[in-house]
Amino acid sequence: MSTTLKRVHGYLAEFDNVQDLYHAAEHVRDAGYNRWDVHSPFPIHGMDKAMGNPRSNLPKLVFCGGITGTTVAFILQTVTQTNFWSSLGLGFLQEIVETYPTVVQAKPTDIWTLPAFFPVMFELTILFSAFTTLFGLLALMGLPRWNHPLFASKRFAKFSDDSFFVCIEARDPKFSQDGTKALLEKIGGKNIELVEDEI
């Protein structure tokens, strides 16, 4: 006798083709659900609109990451190679530089040697943006979890082959055992299944 604790993840409904899935998504959206998703073997143009998805927050994160990269590169280079910070009255940051200014090819040691730092500023901007994109994406997808709860369903494996799914999650405030199931039935969902997640 199993004693495993289980938690309801949500209702999973299957659809036959893209059109059905698309219209189902529109209905779920109009019913006011927020915590739900669709799964298909390939990307579907316009699905974002049908689902009423808001824009992802990732670009904002990436922008901050990029700005951080530029700033880090700027500070790193100006502190070690110019007297810029001293001229702002922050000489304690760069006492060594004041003693041994790095003069390369007779270029100035003040802020006007800035063009020499552009390549690194450019590279670090890209590097930090790329890192923020990757790790921000993983974080937004809920990385600490190693698998998706939907894989508990046997039928769900077909999402990568020839079937289309809508899953409304239990953590949605509008979720109810009867109401949600009725909605999925009404919009033409087949093989409706309550997916449970092992804790």
């Binding site: 316009g46 670009p59 922008f63 063009p115 020499a116």
Partner: protein, 440 residues
């Protein structure tokens, strides 16, 4: 999906532009152009030396838009794209303006004008004179002259390309190439539009395919043309200076500014009630993305050129930036870094802004203004030093404005009038529907 338009939803026969509808702008451009041309004629006769630079600046500024127009139609065809079919006719019209620009540019061929612009031509003329008197070739005479003036030795070395005498032997003379550039660009523009118009008759896909083949072949000649036009007209203002990135730099600015002009045109035509169903916010987004790409590309090229020259610190190379990083030009240089790159970069980052026509109109006006500053900064700093007047010629800016209004106003007037000749979009292109319903 529910908004998918089909061929029958669009006006049959395309949309014809009625100049009367855009009367105010067209009239203003025409008036300004006429006044500018009148003032230009006056300045040409009175201040030929300083005005030659003004005219070169105005011509080249306008030329970059035509170059951009040619580039965008060719790229669109060569890459087998469909998104821009709804906009393509505007590029075709823009590209075809190059023929008229050739007429306006022709004063630059007159020795009395170009002797003020290109010092090397004067040395060549001296050499020709020398050769006529003492026998031998012009090149030998140059070599002989360089014994007294070692600076001229570089002209002897560059004689194969930079000369005014080898009219019929490749790579030809400066004057022959001048004409060739307009012929090549004009030919490309004409052929591309001809194919497009033939398709309007029969709606056959074969015209799309043949224009793709044509573009792939002629892109090489386009690249050579735009590169060497930039080398001949701007880089040789200072015959000792050279930069291998120069052609790409000018090309990047051309593609950038002409895309901005296209967005402005589309917004203007839409505000007059045209292209309502054909051009959507998706097109604004796509064009905005290309504008953004070229903002970055231009900055990359401009910085690479500056960086290598600044760091290597070689005498001949640094002269270009020495002129532009000292005196009053220093402020302009820094303004270009911020205004040509940083500001448009930040403005175009967001997807939402690229989809809003009124935001894009402001950004594009700014882009064109910055391109103007960039071109001014490339041509005009040569004027004072070359004529021996100092870094800035007092009062000459009025001549620059007159030339700019004359050339740009006239060209703008003719361009907008010319829009009425054909449908505003290729209405029988088989891929028009694909373009109208584009999603990205």
């Amino acid at each position: 999906m529910s908004h998918h338009l089909s061929f029958n939803d669009l006006p049959q026969g395309g949309e014809k532009f009625e100049p009367a509808k855009g009367g105010k702008l067209i009239g203003a451009l025409g008036l300004v152009g006429l006044l500018g041309l009148a003032a230009s004629t006056f300045f040409f006769l009175k201040n030929t030396d300083t005005f030659a630079y003004s005219w070169l600046f105005a011509i080249f500024f306008t030329f970059t838009f035509c170059v951009g127009g040619v580039f965008w139609i060719m790229l669109h065809a060569a890459s087998n794209s469909s998104w821009g079919v709804a906009i393509r006719r505007l590029w075709e019209n823009l590209a075809n303006m190059v023929v008229i620009l050739g007429l306006l540019a022709s004063p630059l061929l007159i020795p009395a004008v170009n002797k003020h612009l290109y010092e090397w031509m004067n040395h060549h003329r001296d050499a020709a004179h020398h050769a006529a008197e003492h026998g031998g070739s012009v090149k030998e005479a140059l070599h002989h002259m360089s014994h007294d003036n070692p600076h001229l030795h570089i002209l002897y070395s560059k004689f194969g390309y930079l000369n005014i005498s080898n009219h019929f032997i490749p790579p030809f003379s400066w004057q022959t190439r001048f004409v060739l550039y307009f012929l090549i660009l004009g030919y490309i523009a004409r052929v591309m539009r001809k194919k497009s118009l033939q398709q309007e008759q029969d709606g056959d896909i074969k015209h799309t395919i043949s224009s793709r083949q044509f573009s792939c072949r002629w892109l090489l000649f386009f690249a050579l043309t735009s590169t060497f036009a930039a080398v001949d007209w701007l880089m040789s203002l200072d015959y000792s200076w050279f930069s291998t990135m120069w052609g790409v730099y000018i090309f990047a600015g051309s593609a950038w500014s002409s895309m901005a002009l296209t967005i402005l045109l589309v917004a203007w035509l839409k505000s007059l009630g045209y292209l309502q169903k054909v051009v959507t916010e998706e097109h604004y987004h796509l064009m905005g993305k290309l504008l953004f790409a070229f903002t970055v590309f231009w900055a990359y090229i401009a910085f690479s050129q500056y960086f290598l020259i600044w760091y290597a610190n070689i005498t001949e190379e640094t002269r270009f930036y020495l002129t532009r990083n000292t005196e009053g030009w220093r402020g302009v240089s820094i303004f270009i870094v911020v205004g040509h790159f940083v500001a448009p970069f930040l403005a175009l980052l967001s997807q939402a802004r690229k989809k809003k026509p009124y935001v894009m109109v402001f950004v594009c006006l700014w882009v064109i203004f910055m391109h103007l500053v960039d071109m001014y900064w490339n041509v005009i700093p040569e004027r004072g030093p070359s004529l021996g007047i100092g870094w800035w010629v007092d009062g000459a800016w009025i001549q620059d404005v007159a030339a700019l209004l004359g050339v740009f106003g006239t060209m703008g007037f003719l361009f907008l009038r010319g829009l009425s000749k054909y449908s505003l979009y290729p209405w029988r292109d088989p891929r028009l529907i694909e373009s109208v319903n584009v999603v990205n």
